[in-house]
């Protein structure tokens, strides 16, 4: 198959206005300029405007699946809108060869009072299908959406999952050359998600091209090649998916990694510090085998959490705890010196306590370390830090998905021929 270019984006920029009132003013002006043919200088920013997309360039070839990742507000959806021809760029040039199917919002054309059946006809027509195409694909759409019993129910009685399933099913049967998919893998149940992934893979095999915007880095990692990482409207990294994902894992969402970043406040517990605590935690860091600070670890590598603290007076047997959370706030591992029956002994002045994981069996992602210190009984917490440091895990070439790596092996036994079973 020739590796011809399907989408070419050259220096594309798009600006948006933050203020509603100014939007009206600029809108009137721009519309007047369009109508009367005045050319206007669209290169500058007017008050309250910002570049939602700033000089983005890339190409997508036939059969490629481009992943677009980045923090919220990076301009990913704006990019898809421009590619779908829904709005025009302010600068630059976009060339698309072939027909584009944009899945920016599933079920966007649905009317709540119409039944699923009627909405398939209506939405299909809005998306450019002829009656012939709809008649041909109708059963396939219903099958794909798995809505046989509900197809004659008004869609306003659909659950949100059913609504989205029907929306995806229609879009999936559009028979387009390019699909623009915006975060649709995030909705629907597990079975439907798998169906969508299968559909995308199938579509790619048939020579279609896909641009997938997603926060699900696992899906991007397995489906996309290459990947575009965006930050505040600009291309941050564009290249092989594995490299780009590593950049994203390393630098997180591009905001300060010393703050809570993507972590919703309080998900790993509220920070606390009691006034008359004899122990104060000064610094927490993740160290590599060589004892140096490191922010990316490979799955299976050794990692040491080092907690530096000072005491105001000699303390006997304080209890230290360390917990590792993922970015959804799920606790991946937690342990205290008390539960491990490990006596800290008397401490005084400045000291560090280290917790070593000989094998860090976590899979790719960003992790947050919470630490605590309490009295010898473990009941009175002196200090708790919900976000003391974070680190990223790069699972490298491992294909496992999930949160933890479990060493595993496969085997097969033929039951008919094996004598020890019969």
């Amino acid at each position: 198959m020739p590796a011809d270019t399907i989408i070419s984006v050259q220096g594309v920029s798009k600006k948006f206005c933050r203020s509603l009132k100014r939007t009206m003013l600029y809108g009137v002006r721009d519309v007047a300029c369009d109508l009367f043919g005045f050319s206007q200088n669209s290169n500058g920013l007017r008050p309250d405007e910002f570049w939602a997309l700033d000089d983005v360039s890339f190409e997508v070839k036939r059969g490629e699946c481009l992943g677009v990742i980045g923090p919220n507000g990076a301009g990913k959806s704006t990019l898809l809108k421009l590619l779908g021809g829904i709005t025009l760029p302010d600068k630059g040039r976009i060339k698309v060869t072939g027909r584009v199917g944009a899945l920016l919002e599933l079920g966007a054309g649905f009317h709540p009072m119409l039944t699923g059946r009627e909405n398939i006809h209506l939405t299909g027509t809005i998306l450019g299908l002829g009656e012939k195409d709809i008649a041909e694909t109708f059963d396939a759409i219903v099958d794909f959406a798995d809505l046989k019993e509900f197809i004659d129910v008004p869609v306003k009685y659909y659950s949100s999952g059913m609504y989205v399933r029907l929306g995806y099913a229609i879009a999936a049967h559009l028979d387009r050359d390019v699909l623009l998919i915006d975060e649709v893998l995030a909705v629907g149940d597990v079975g439907f998600r798998a169906k969508c992934v299968r559909h995308i893979q199938n579509f790619l095999e048939r020579g279609g091209s896909v641009i997938l915007v997603s926060h699900d880095l696992g899906a991007v990692g397995s489906l996309c090649e290459p990947t575009l990482l965006m930050k505040s409207g600009q291309t941050w990294r564009f290249g092989p998916t594995e490299e780009v994902l590593n950049v994203y894992y390393t630098y997180g969402d591009g905001r300060s990694t010393s703050g809570h970043g993507a972590m919703p406040a309080g998900q790993t517990g509220q920070d606390s510090y009691s006034e008359n605590a004899p122990v104060a935690i000064v610094d927490v860091s993740a160290l590599n085998v060589a004892g140096r600070k490191q922010s990316i670890f490979r799955t299976g590598e050794a990692m040491t959490i080092c907690v530096e603290f000072t005491t105001a007076e000699p303390v006997e047997n304080p209890v230290f705890g360390v917990a590792i959370y993922n970015t959804h706030g799920a606790r991946c591992h937690a342990i205290t010196t008390l539960t491990d029956d490990w006596r800290v002994g008397p401490v005084n002045g400045r000291a560090t306590i280290k917790l070593r994981y000989p094998q860090l069996n976590l899979l790719a992602g960003r992790y947050i370390v919470a630490v605590s210190v309490s009295d010898a009984t473990g009941l009175n917490c002196w200090q708790y830090i919900g976000f003391s440091c974070d680190f990223f895990v790069d699972q490298h070439c491992r294909r496992d998905t999930g949160q933890i790596f479990l060493p595993h092996e496969w085997s097969i036994n033929d039951l008919d021929d094996s004598p020890e079973i019969s």
Partner: protein, 321 residues
């Protein structure tokens, strides 16, 4: 049970109507092969998006516009059916609501007229029949205009998230008012029979008068729908303007002849069109053919200019919905 349900709903008139429209296509579809692999397809067309790309269409743009309009006729038809079909689904009286406001308004004026509070004379046919016809035509115009104006804003994410010929939304907004007009003909005919008014046979040409009325509404509607996307005041302003317009049009009174009130006939582009329909019913010929021709021409120009303006600006303002 699901099967019975399917059979029942499969026969909703919405689906039947759209099948009717596509009979020949549906028959052809049974003998079509499965779509070939994407890569082997020869239909690939380059689409280029650049700033202000729409503006540089030139004269060839008109050809594209008519071609695309023809291509989206099925979509327009479906959107019309949707609006009509959906409107009264969760209602008991249903389509009766199409005639209630019109009957109520005329009822009030008939009462004021008969009780001599309002003294209106000089209508060529019975006053109630005259007023009912006038308000019906006016509501066709007003319904088309306000429907077109709100069509984009009320479609929300369809406009902001889907790329399709958006003029279809504006044109399809004519469907509901046209349908309502047809429903309203029932009480109109009843009143004509009751008052013994016999329209002249030339009344069969009335659709030719209604056409420029709809074109006028469509042309203004194209522009106002865009304006409404940018500034939401448009919708409110239009409501007020239509209320005033109703009284500045010879609906509840015969066309004034005395200066300066006769200006109403001259400055209001809708008046000559309404007057033409009233002429056809009452006398069978147009008393001011030149005015009618001018109004027709104006409607046509407005419709084309509005459509073009819509095309040029829609992609800029699509994000405003």
């Amino acid at each position: 049970m699901a099967k019975n349900g399917a059979a029942k709903y499969n026969n909703t008139w919405f689906l039947r109507a759209l099948q009717l429209f596509n009979m020949e296509e549906a028959i052809q579809s049974r003998h079509t092969a499965v779509a070939p692999a994407l890569a082997s397809r020869e239909h690939a067309v380059d689409v280029v998006y650049t700033p202000g790309g729409m503006r540089r269409d030139g004269v060839g743009g008109w050809r594209i516009m008519f071609k695309e309009l023809a291509e989206s006729r099925r979509l327009i038809w479906l959107l019309m059916l949707r609006d009509i079909s959906v409107r009264y689904r969760q209602s008991i009286l249903g389509y009766v609501w199409a005639v209630v406001p019109q009957l109520a308004t005329v009822g009030v004026f008939a009462f004021l007229h008969s009780s001599q509070v309002l003294s209106i004379s000089g209508t060529r046919i019975a006053y109630v029949a005259y007023a009912l016809w006038g308000i019906s035509v006016w509501q066709l115009f007003a319904g088309c205009l306000s429907g077109c104006t709100t069509s984009l804003v009320s479609s929300g994410s369809l406009v902001t998230k889907v790329n399709f010929p958006r003029e279809a939304l504006v044109v399809a907004a004519l469907g509901q008012p046209i349908f309502d007009f047809l429903v309203r003909l029932v009480p109109v005919v009843a009143v004509f029979v009751w008052y013994g008014v016999t329209p002249s046979w030339e009344s069969v040409f009335i659709p030719l008068v209604l056409l420029p009325i709809m074109l006028l509404a469509l042309g203004l509607g194209f522009v106002l729908s865009i304006a409404n996307l940018v500034i939401r005041d448009t919708g409110n302003a239009l409501g007020t303007a239509l209320t005033i317009g109703m009284f500045l049009t010879p609906i509840f009174y015969p066309p004034p002849v005395r200066w300066p009130f006769s200006l109403v006939n001259l400055l209001n582009p809708f008046s000559p069109l309404l007057a033409a329909s009233q002429d056809l019913i009452a006398q069978g010929f147009l008393s001011r053919p030149e005015m009618f021709a001018a109004a027709c021409l104006l409607s046509l120009i407005l419709a084309l200019a509005g459509w073009r303006a819509f095309r040029v600006t829609i992609l800029r303002v699509a994000g405003y919905a």
